[in-house]
């Protein structure tokens, strides 16, 4: 059924001046929408840790204090959510996944990663798409500490994939042999999620 077109309803914006920066089917937003699968976790920083485990020679964990001492970089990236909003030029400060992986020896079989968060959220990614500057664990947004509603104290950011892969409240990365689907990937969302190929749903 085609349905009624609502007279005078223009929907969302795809301004001509940034047209080439918006992936297909996306609309520009200038605020920062809050989307979540559950309540905001509130892990006290003295109980927080970040771990790399799974198919690694030996797992490694950082406390918050130790994590804050790791080398950081600043990033300015565009982010696209599968719910169709794109935000341009977002500014972050964080630790690149490359830096984190220097602390472990990844088993050759460990080609995929499950990112896992407080509250039970998970998302899977190919390891090859997390290295070489493609992914980082951020704890500052727009020059301020990352707010809990946006994933603070720390979240994963993987700008080249749909933002559901940028796990909020991240606590670790688990190296795995097979590309096991995470929270949304196991319920109809695309296993990979490239916005430029519009890989929104499984079967796309």
């Amino acid at each position: 059924m085609a349905g009624l077109i609502s007279r005078g309803f223009l929907g969302r914006r795809r301004p001509a001046e940034v047209e080439d920066r918006l992936p297909p089917g996306q609309y520009l937003v200038t605020d920062f929408p809050v989307l979540s699968a559950g309540p905001t976790p509130h892990t006290p920083l003295d109980q927080w840790s970040f771990t790399i485990d799974g198919l690694v020679k030996s797992p490694v964990s950082w406390s918050w204090d130790a994590f804050k001492k790791l080398a950081t970089e600043t990033y300015k990236v565009d982010i696209s959510c599968v719910t169709k909003w794109t935000k341009l030029d977002t500014k972050w400060l964080g630790v690149s996944v490359d830096t984190l992986l220097e602390a472990v020896q990844v088993d050759p079989m460990g080609r995929f990663v499950m990112a896992y968060s407080d509250g039970g959220y998970t998302t899977n990614l190919p390891l090859a798409e997390m290295v070489k500057g493609q992914a980082f664990v951020a704890y500052q947004f727009d020059d301020k500490p990352l707010e809990p509603v946006h994933g603070g104290p720390a979240r994963l950011v993987v700008p080249h994939l749909y933002f559901w892969k940028s796990a909020k409240w991240i606590r670790g990365l688990r190296l795995m042999e097979r590309n096991q689907p995470g929270f949304w990937e196991s319920l109809g969302y695309h296993i990979h999620g490239d916005p430029w190929k519009e890989e929104r749903y499984s079967g796309d």
Partner: protein
């Protein structure tokens, strides 16, 4: 009895009435109107020429006794997507895609009985108003009370109607509380709803009260928690969370 399938239909705007500076009531004629239960809502859908679609839910303000038409009261959310369209673009005679009536949990009608305590904040008063209008249409005398939280007197939806109802119906008691700017000379409540206020308002009903709480999520959470602390049986509490307050 098999429930008719829930399907989208095109409602036609037959009246638009401003209630406050932020809220308007819209009356619709529906090809397939059916009597709803007070507290239910309709889902509304907008479609742009490029196929982009968005949906919202709005509580029914009118009672089922208002046969053949449907009234929705909508608060304008300044950075919203749908409410600005309804407030600023929609005109008499326009069509709006809607489906309903929806919901079986947050409903009250006189058959359920009382005593009835309605607690609302902001646009949360809308489904509660449907309940009160239905109660009035049935000339019910079961005791009812409304505790209604607003920012200021200008933000009280249905003010005249509520005041009239309170003046003319000895079995209905009305309590306003103002959280930002009470009216000049106001001697009533002037703070967010809390346990102490609820305790006073619920007193005549005690643990027999059937309570319906509706409005911004944080208000609903606070009120529901307070009612549970008062040991009101949980089966007597029904809640509907509207999400964040509009500014």
């Amino acid at each position: 009895m098999v429930q008719p399938a829930l399907e989208w239909q095109a409602g036609t705007v037959t009246a638009i009435r401003p209630e406050t500076r932020q809220t308007k009531s819209f009356t619709f004629a529906l090809p397939k109107w059916m009597a709803h239960r007070p507290g239910q809502h309709y889902d509304v859908r907008l479609t742009a020429p490029d196929g982009y679609r968005t949906e919202r839910s709005y509580s029914i303000a009118s009672p089922p006794e208002q046969v053949g038409e449907l009234e929705l009261s909508v608060e304008l959310i300044p950075d919203g997507e749908v409410s600005p369209y309804l407030h600023d673009v929609l005109m008499l005679g326009d069509q709006l895609e809607m489906r309903g009536p929806i919901g079986g949990y947050f409903v009250w009608d006189v058959a359920i009985g009382g005593p009835l305590l309605l607690v609302g904040g902001g646009s949360g008063v809308v489904p509660l108003m449907a309940m009160l209008r239905h109660r009035a249409a049935k000339h019910a005398t079961l005791p009812a009370r409304l505790l209604y939280s607003s920012r200021s007197a200008d933000d009280v939806i249905y003010r005249d109607e509520l005041d009239s109802l309170a003046a003319s119906d000895p079995t209905f008691a009305l309590f306003y509380t103002f959280t930002r700017e009470p009216p000049v000379g106001w001697t009533g409540y002037r703070r967010r709803i809390d346990g102490a206020m609820l305790g006073e308002v619920i007193k005549p009903f005690d643990k027999r009260a059937r309570v319906y709480v509706c409005g911004p999520t944080l208000l609903v959470e606070a009120v529901a928690n307070a009612l549970v602390q008062m040991e009101l049986p949980i089966e007597q509490i029904r809640t509907e969370r509207f999400g964040p307050t509009g500014t």
